[in-house]
């Protein structure tokens, strides 16, 4: 770095003054202060660019437009409008034939909408229904029109939140309040439109083809027949329903059962099916526990299970086979082999 002249914030200007004898006799004497002198003698001039005599870069047209936008119409996006969304689609209008919905965060993509999220009140309500009232998941899901998996997730995270509250761990309350103010929210109150579809079934790729199946005119060709036509192992939608008890309830109502009684039956059936599921899980875990022998040491817990060394498949390379096998390379030592875990228990 070349030596610097201390003492002023705008040296090139002063340097120029020094080199070209200025009309006023005062300026040169002030310019170059000796190095040891303190810098107090010369007052700083309003110039921020030391040692550069090149002109400042011109603001490009694009940058100027950006600056105009930030100070002009972009100003409205700076702050959230608490209680409603603030997406740019509000201001975009391509044409009268292509309307842009205000809940579209991306004006070019009409297929993606910012959908409602559960409000704090709604989450608390779901937690109450499950943990305090002890309602079955399926019943809560059907009552509030919230997906079963979401209900489970809400309860799971609410439990952690309550635990933190008990432990006096700080929560991100200002953040939560701000984010909830920016998002469209659902309170799950009466009369609100359903939160999300709860009876989703996955579209199997086998069923995405077009088939021509000749049948007799008199035959009742049902959903089950259609599934069979697509493939031997394709399940009909009735078997894929997440809450089949709901269909049963509708059948009961169609058969003339009073709605109140049908709902009660539905809740009972849902509780039974959930209990059966829990029992199955429990017995499976118990069976695994009985199979394994746990040996606790200082550092590790060894879990020993019996295996069959013959169980290696027809080629001897089955993935479940245990131990080193002749002719099967250890791929995990190969360069670039991905070792990211695939699941976390």
């Amino acid at each position: 770095m070349p030596p610097r002249i201390r003492g002023s914030s705008c040296q090139p200007q002063l340097l120029l003054n020094y080199l070209e004898p200025a009309p006023s006799s005062l300026t040169p004497s002030l310019t170059i202060a000796p190095r040891h002198r303190p810098a107090t003698s010369s007052a700083p001039l309003p110039c921020g660019r030391s040692f550069s005599t090149t002109p400042a870069p011109q603001v490009t047209r694009l940058r100027r437009r950006f600056n105009e936008w930030v100070e002009g119409s972009g100003e409205q996006f700076k702050e959230p409008r608490y209680g409603e969304t603030n997406y740019i689609s509000r201001t975009v209008n391509f044409s009268d034939f292509r309307p842009v919905s205000p809940d579209q965060p991306f004006p070019n993509n009409p297929n993606f909408r910012s959908e409602r999220v559960l409000s704090e009140k709604a989450r608390e309500m779901i937690w109450q229904a499950i943990m305090v009232k002890g309602m079955p998941l399926k019943a809560v899901s059907a009552q509030f029109h919230v997906d079963m998996r979401r209900v489970a997730a809400v309860v799971r995270m609410k439990e952690i939140e309550k635990k933190w509250q008990r432990e006096n761990k700080p929560l991100a309350l200002p953040y939560a309040r701000a984010v909830m103010g920016m998002l469209p929210t659902a309170d799950l109150s009466e009369g609100e439109k359903p939160f999300e579809p709860i009876n989703d079934i996955h579209v199997h790729s086998y069923t995405m083809q077009q088939l021509f199946v000749p049948t007799s005119e008199s035959r009742e060709f049902t959903r089950a027949d259609a599934a069979k036509a697509f493939g031997e192992r394709i399940l009909p939608p009735d078997a894929k329903m997440r809450i089949p008890e709901l269909v049963q309830m509708e059948r009961n109502i169609a058969a003339g059962m009073p709605p109140r009684e049908a709902t009660a039956t539905f809740i009972r059936e849902a509780a039974e099916s959930e209990k059966a599921f829990a029992d199955r899980q429990h017995s499976r875990a118990k069976a695994t526990e009985e199979r394994t022998l746990r040996v606790q040491t200082d550092r590790f817990e060894f879990r020993i299970e019996k295996i069959n060394s013959e169980d290696v498949g027809p080629t001897g390379r089955a993935r479940k086979a245990v131990g080193w096998r002749y002719g099967v390379p250890h791929m995990d030592r190969r360069r670039g082999e991905v070792k990211i875990p695939t699941r976390v228990e």
Binding site: V70, F112, R149, A153, P170, M182
Partner: protein, 454 residues
């Protein structure tokens, strides 16, 4: 090479929409139009589409990695209406000549129908980057815990993220349905809050306080900064000591409230009240100094002090002119969360202060109570704290709201900064769950690009 690419990350000349909340990015997003492709060959069209879409979706991921992730079979789902399922077995769709009975012209009834789906084609082509949304870093960005996907990636690498309660340091971890990920709260607050920019704001507020306080807002700011200098409180309540600390902060705040009232209402207050208030302020100061020195002040005594001050405050009876701006502010901030107010108070104070304020608040009028409650709650939840790496009191960063949305495949609890990856993103009739800023036409071209190699 990477450095050079990053130089124009948010360039205006060759704009690329990125996964960030940057204001330049917002400007580029606003200008984003489907490019004119008629004059280009099919290869060029696909190339343009691919490069634009990849600039947004996981631009920090290498192309060969993405090519391995790409799936040519996007997932989709259909809602099956239980009422329809109960009434019909599907044979009515094959009735008549094989494609259902024709509806008579002009009749309102259009035959049995599966309700709950939009009447639009399923946008499969908008689902190309669905496998990318499974990545942990991108899911963190989608849950609004980081201001960009790259920042989310850094959080993971630096060990601030847990998956199912265990630390996960691989940003490329593919979430499984049901996985819960959690990000360190402080990191989230720093990422989504306003940055600290010198002490410009503080200076402005202190000058505001020195001059005659004209607006309530300014006074509020000034008192916040002053409070920071006077009290060393605002720590997490972990034990009784911390609870006392919180008490001190509350007392401090009440004191400031009283002072503010005195300043504003100077001319209208009767001398007697003023005198009482001044005396009380002095007493309060003494109490606080003593407790700060001794550190063995009883909680009950502090409660007493608070109660007394609130009683005096209620006697002063704010005029309607003064109430108006405060009431408005409170309406804005408080909106509909009055239910969780108490929970928040309890969370912040550990129960003790909330109980005392609740009893003492009984002395005030409704508006005063609401204002005081709001002020105290805000102060407890969102205190001024110079030790934080972000501007305090915490506020969301600028230009955040246009990017704030949470896709349906995530369920987020913002209070603990945790989210559950419920399922893989799916396309439904008329809707796709992958947040992509590009038009269906462009996405389709990009899909075709990857089909060639996929």
């Amino acid at each position: 090479m990477r450095q050079r690419r990053l130089l124009r990350f948010h360039g205006l000349k060759r704009p690329r929409v990125r996964q960030t909340w940057n204001k330049y990015n917002l400007f580029n997003l606003l200008r984003l139009r489907t490019p004119i492709l008629q004059s280009k060959t099919l290869f060029q069209q696909k190339w343009v589409a691919k490069s634009l879409t990849r600039g947004y979706h996981g631009e920090h991921i290498k192309e060969y990695q993405w090519e391995r992730m790409f799936s040519r079979r996007p997932l989709s789902a259909v809602n099956m209406d239980p009422a329809y399922m109960a009434k019909h077995d599907g044979s009515e769709q094959a009735a008549g000549r094989g494609s259902g009975r024709k509806v008579r012209l002009g009749s309102k009834y259009s035959g049995p129908k599966n309700q709950g789906n939009l009447d639009a084609p399923t946008p499969y082509m908008q689902m190309i980057f669905a496998p990318m949304e499974r990545r942990l870093d991108i899911a963190i960005f989608r849950a609004l815990f980081a201001s960009s996907a790259r920042q989310a990636r850094q959080f993971v690498l630096h060990g601030f993220v847990t998956v199912n309660g265990k630390k996960m340091t691989y940003p490329g971890y593919l979430l499984n349905p049901g996985d819960m990920f959690q990000v360190d709260i402080e990191r989230v607050m720093a990422a989504t809050g306003r940055p600290k920019r010198g002490d410009r704001n503080q200076k402005a507020s202190t000058t505001a306080e020195e001059s005659e306080p004209a607006e309530a807002e300014e006074v509020e700011e000034g008192e916040a900064s002053e409070e920071a200098t006077t009290s060393e409180a605002a720590a997490e309540p972990v034990d009784a000591e911390a609870a006392k600390e919180k008490h001190l902060a509350t007392l401090n705040h009440l004191k400031e409230q009283a002072r503010k009232i005195m300043l504003v209402k100077d001319r209208f207050n009767r001398a007697k009240k003023k005198k009482a208030l001044r005396k009380y302020l002095k007493d309060l100061k003494e109490t606080m100094d003593r407790s700060r020195k001794l550190r063995n002040q009883s909680v009950a005594e502090m409660d007493e002090a608070e109660r007394e001050l609130t009683a005096i405050l209620s006697n002063l009876a704010l005029s309607s002119a003064e109430q108006a701006p405060e009431g408005k502010r409170q309406q804005q901030q408080k909106d509909k969360e009055s239910a969780e107010l108490k929970a928040g108070l309890q969370a912040a104070t550990g129960g003790t202060v909330s109980g005392s304020t609740a009893t003492s608040l009984g002395l005030l009028t409704n508006t005063q109570r609401a204002v005081l409650k709001w002020v105290i709650r805000n102060e407890l939840e969102n205190p001024h704290d110079p030790s934080k790496p972000y501007a305090t009191p915490w506020r969301p960063r600028e230009f955040m709201a246009p990017f704030a949305f949470i896709p349906r495949y995530l369920e987020v609890n913002q209070r603990i900064c945790a989210a559950v990856y419920l399922r893989h993103p799916v396309a439904r009739p008329g809707l796709s769950e992958v947040p992509t800023p590009f038009s269906p036409m462009l996405s389709q071209l990009a899909f075709n690009w990857y089909l060639r190699r996929g």
